[in-house]
Amino acid sequence: MADKRTMTLNLTDQEMRLLDDLSARKDVSKTALLRQALRLYQMVEERLNRGEKLFFEDEEKKKAELMVV
């Protein structure tokens, strides 16, 4: 595995609660969850850079595009 580095992260109460909630739901540690979030962000960015678009689709097959900053 690649060498790891440590950083300190400041989160609001709301963000911390969200992190707690998601890590419990996914049954992974908070660190693991944040690493997954970072990878997901990169994955989305790479595809947007290739000219693709990100859509969410509801059950009626109506699509709404997700704009990622």
Partner: protein, 210 residues
């Protein structure tokens, strides 16, 4: 990461060393197109010509080189197995994405590692080798790749949980050989069968306790 693992040499029935690595590059993808694909196509045509359509590999026209842009995406992990200076198997895992969540009721929504692609070199697959009048060369390459997927899942703190969509022709391998639980057909992925490991099943696979 490079590590030595054992696979079985079918000529002797004995374990032999192979290298399992994760630094997969586009050159490996090109190797699959140049070394594997012509053999897969030739075997597929033989099987089709002899009326064994149900045995035609359902991945006969895959092209790993289209995945080259995915090499630099951190959500993806690639693993290869090498012996005799040739690729014997290749795998792509995803640690984040739409399929990276469990569906089994007892672990629904929990994170898992998704096995997106696995391919074993055609000279190692009995059906293809026999179609070309040969004997399969190495065995247990697929098991080693699934083992790597489970170990990656543990590294990612997913406790060994993995999930995958099985091609119809490979359902036997994942159900019986790996002991994965079939959950149901997925309309989001060509109605392929979704299979999954619980942490206990993953450990049983790793230790052979089934």
């Amino acid at each position: 990461m490079k590590t030595l693992v054992h696979i079985i040499d079918n000529r002797t029935g004995q374990p032999v060393e192979a290298e399992l690595f994760d630094e997969v590059t586009i050159e490996h993808f090109i190797e699959t197109q140049q070394e594997w694909r012509p053999i897969v196509l030739k075997a597929a045509r033989q099987l089709a010509a002899h009326g064994s359509r149900e045995l035609v590999p359902q991945h006969f026209h895959w092209d790993w080189t289209t995945k080259a842009p995915e090499l630099s995406v951190l959500a993806n992990s690639f693993y290869g197995i090498r012996r005799d200076n040739k690729l014997q198997g290749l795998m792509k895992l995803q640690t984040v994405g739409r399929f990276c969540r469990c569906r089994l009721p007892e672990q629904v929504d929990k994170a898992l590692v998704y096995v997106d692609y696995v391919e074993v070199a055609p000279w190692n697959l009995k059906t293809l080798a026999v179609a070309l009048g040969e004997k399969p060369l190495y065995n247990a390459v697929g098991s080693r790749l699934i083992e790597a997927a489970v170990l990656k899942s543990k590294e990612e703190e997913c406790k060994g949980r993995i999930g995958l969509h099985s091609l119809p022709i490979t359902e036997l391998f994942y159900r019986k050989v790996c002991g994965m639980t079939p959950v149901g057909r997925d309309s989001a992925k060509q109605n392929l069968l979704w299979l999954e490991y619980t942490p206990e099943q993953a450990d049983n696979f790793l230790t052979g306790a089934r």
